[in-house]
Symmetry: C2
Subunit: 459 residues, 2 copies
């Protein structure tokens, strides 16, 4: 049974490959006033959130497997595997760090496209920067411009491209990684266009892989492919100068929606990294309002022992995606708004630890989940939640969360990002080194050789 | 301007990921009677034709650029860059050899899908085999099974997938390379399915890249990605067990036509490598009948000096694709049936040398091209050509080629493949070493350690 497609190629697309290449190659950068201090601060938040995720998952079984495969190549010790002792060649470091940064599903989200932009871009650019001895300033500039490329291409193709089956983080990430690495290598417009062109032949990732190690492989493979595309272009390798927009170029091949204005509009004025967000909770975004509401109940003094019943009202989509009533392990719990509520009320948080198999199967958690009564109310936005704790003494405590913590309207504070980072890194690097690494992340835009920072990211 | 797509996912696809994995992992192989001697001989022809192409293009500027980029990783000396002194890590060797094997557009063609199957598969499997010290027998078995995977997936999606913009050699080649490497690593069915699954997230290549170095990059990148997918699976990396066929798996994401029977039909009885073909001439397939006809005129004693006019009758498609009357360089000449006729009559051949800028601009070639008068006749098949040489003395010599040399109906002989190989390799490796390498290729299915052969492929 085949699908039906009517294909009418667009022969009049603007030269977005060239336009993006010029943007990346000739942009003056932050120090020349290229973007605001707020944008630059968001880039630092993106960088440190990404790095913390990568360090946190450094010893996950996916990292072990990927590193074991990479070691078969007997790689040179060029760049750090974040959170581990090993160094590998820079392309392999981009791969492994891209994998670990997305393993917990805890990294950044560009909400307009649900791209996780840092995974491909930062993983590529940091590995290359470490090998080059580039400055922290150049890393952040490259990160801003690389993310601008992948998210603008994503904006143009979303949602059709995603609906079709592409994991948009990997499919656009190769372009972002290539752009960032081209910037770091100081390639001119023509060679940057070649880097984008080579990358355009390598979109990575299908959504069928969600729930397997190949999901986090997507940003890793995109990082690696983007870095190599830039190195190839640097050494004279050629590609089509219309590789993105031509009728048989990348975008028209992988998407039937291509709104070119999303790429060209306000270029150099609006930076997509401004729209990046960070998850406080290690699970899907639709559970966040419910967890937040229950954490607020806890902050108001409500304890699990007092609770007779938790009345939860949410949009139907929340139960559709995360309606698992009796999760039996950590992975299932990530799809259980019931567990989210129990974790919020019990711990006031829901990081990776609160989704461990052990916590999920604790008797008190099982009991508390069963006290959650969820009702569908489509008058409530899917980004909101209405929670009432009915206590054993008959009292009712009500919380309504319009915009959950971590949303664009209610972003995590820098201090919250610090705490999230420590929650992931302390166990890997120790508290002292973690504190120094956090400090280095916030200061990276003013740093000289980036290798001072990467040294702190290894135990 | 967006395209319109009606997407109706097929939720009832057979488990082709598992079916192909079992085919690859459990097939008894040639020595246990798994396929005929004819199939095995075709595998040898595929292997030697591929190797000759890779050696021939070893010093092309695309090879230089790719190798320079790879050297930035300071690779370990694991596997040979064919035709060169350098060794690099096996994944990079797969990349570079995949590039060189397709650089001249002179490699093998699976005519049902216009996949060039050896580039991705053989490049991956030889590099891995060299590192492992595998036997030549295991290499050929892996090649047969890997090509079966990529071409069967190609059969299922062709032509819609290709029409949409995918360079089908790279998009299916990752799967073939992963399958072949999984076989060589002796992975079981479950791990082979994981290798295919990881590979399924990495289709490579858009047709917009034709005419640039990124076209031959596609089989190279597919080879590299397939090899790494197998190594990842070997070390426990996981993917969806339905990565190929699921509604949001690879095939439904990149093609609206998916004829599953093409994958499952006659599996283990019909081997797609049987339908592989080899080009005698270093240009697009539609010019081949015209070159062949003119070479036959030459064989009958007709010389350029005698010719007043060459009357060429061909299908309209031939002139549409290759109607360039006055080519100014080698690349343009590959799209000129006029140059093809001149080369056929002058040299009796049209290898890479006859498409050099120098030959293309020779005064006698320019003059002879101008004597070719082409006429469209759609009663003639596009795989045929009708040529009449009108001589200065008034005589007319007529040749009709129904199936050009190199077609399935009129395949190149082994001796012709030898000559083609020498034409590419003699200048790179010298005649003596080339002769030894040719002999080693024909004997590879009986060879012990493959490294005896790869040593011969380095100067």
């Amino acid at each position: 049974m085949a699908r039906n497609t009517q294909v009418a190629a667009d022969h009049n697309a603007p030269s977005v490959t060239q336009i993006l290449a010029r943007h990346v190659a000739t942009h003056p950068g932050y120090l020349a006033g290229g973007w605001s201090a707020a944008v630059d601060h968001e880039a630092h938040r993106t960088f440190m959130n990404w790095l913390g995720c990568a360090v946190g998952a450094a010893h996950h079984e996916a990292a072990d497997a990927a590193l074991a495969a990479v070691q078969m190549l007997q790689p040179a010790a060029q760049a750090s595997v974040l959170g581990r002792k090993e160094k590998v060649d820079m392309a392999s470091a981009a791969l492994v760090n891209g994998i670990t940064s997305h393993t917990f599903d805890f990294d950044d989200t560009h909400l307009k496209t649900i791209i996780h932009p840092a995974g491909p871009v930062a993983s590529a650019v940091l590995a290359l920067a470490e090998q080059l001895g580039a400055s922290g300033r150049d890393v952040i500039d490259a990160l801003v411009l690389g993310i601008d490329v992948s998210c603008r291409v994503g904006n143009a193709m979303y949602p059709e491209h995603y609906d079709r089956g592409w994991h948009i983080t990997g499919s656009t990430g190769t372009l972002g990684a290539a752009a960032a690495c081209a910037r770091l290598l100081k390639l001119d417009t023509q060679k940057t266009a070649m880097a984008l062109g080579i990358a355009a032949s390598q979109p990575v990732g299908m959504r069928e892989q969600f729930g397997t190690m190949t999901k986090p492989f997507h940003p890793g493979a995109a990082a690696r492919a983007g870095l190599m595309s830039a190195l190839l272009a640097q050494h004279g390798y050629t590609a089509s100068p219309k590789a993105l927009e031509a009728p048989r170029g990348m975008m028209q091949t992988v998407s039937t929606k291509n709104d070119w204005n999303e790429i060209t509009g306000e270029l150099g004025q609006r930076f997509e990294i401004s729209f990046n967000s960070y998850k406080p909770f290690a699970c899907g975004i639709v559970i966040h309002p419910s967890i937040d509401a229950c954490a607020q109940l806890r902050a108001q003094g409500v304890t699990p022992a007092q609770v007779e019943r938790i009345e939860l009202k949410v949009h139907s989509l929340v139960l559709e995606l995360t309606g698992k009533k009796e999760p039996v392990d950590g992975l299932q719990a990530k799809f259980s708004v019931y567990h989210g509520c129990a974790a919020g009320l019990t711990f006031g948080r829901a990081a990776e630890e609160e989704f461990s198999d052990e916590v999920v199967n604790r008797a008190d958690m099982v009991a508390l989940r069963r006290k959650v009564v969820a009702t569908v109310d489509d008058s409530i936005d899917e980004a909101s939640a209405d929670v009432t704790a009915v206590l054993t003494d008959g009292r009712r405590v009500h919380v309504f969360v319009e915009h959950a913590i971590g949303s664009l309207q209610n972003p995590m504070t820098d201090a919250m990002l610090d705490a999230k980072f420590r929650g992931m890194s302390d166990a890997v690097l120790g508290a002292t080194q973690t504190a120094a690494l956090i400090e280095a992340c916030w200061a990276v835009g003013g740093a000289g050789d980036i290798r001072a920072l990467t040294a702190l990211a290894r135990p």
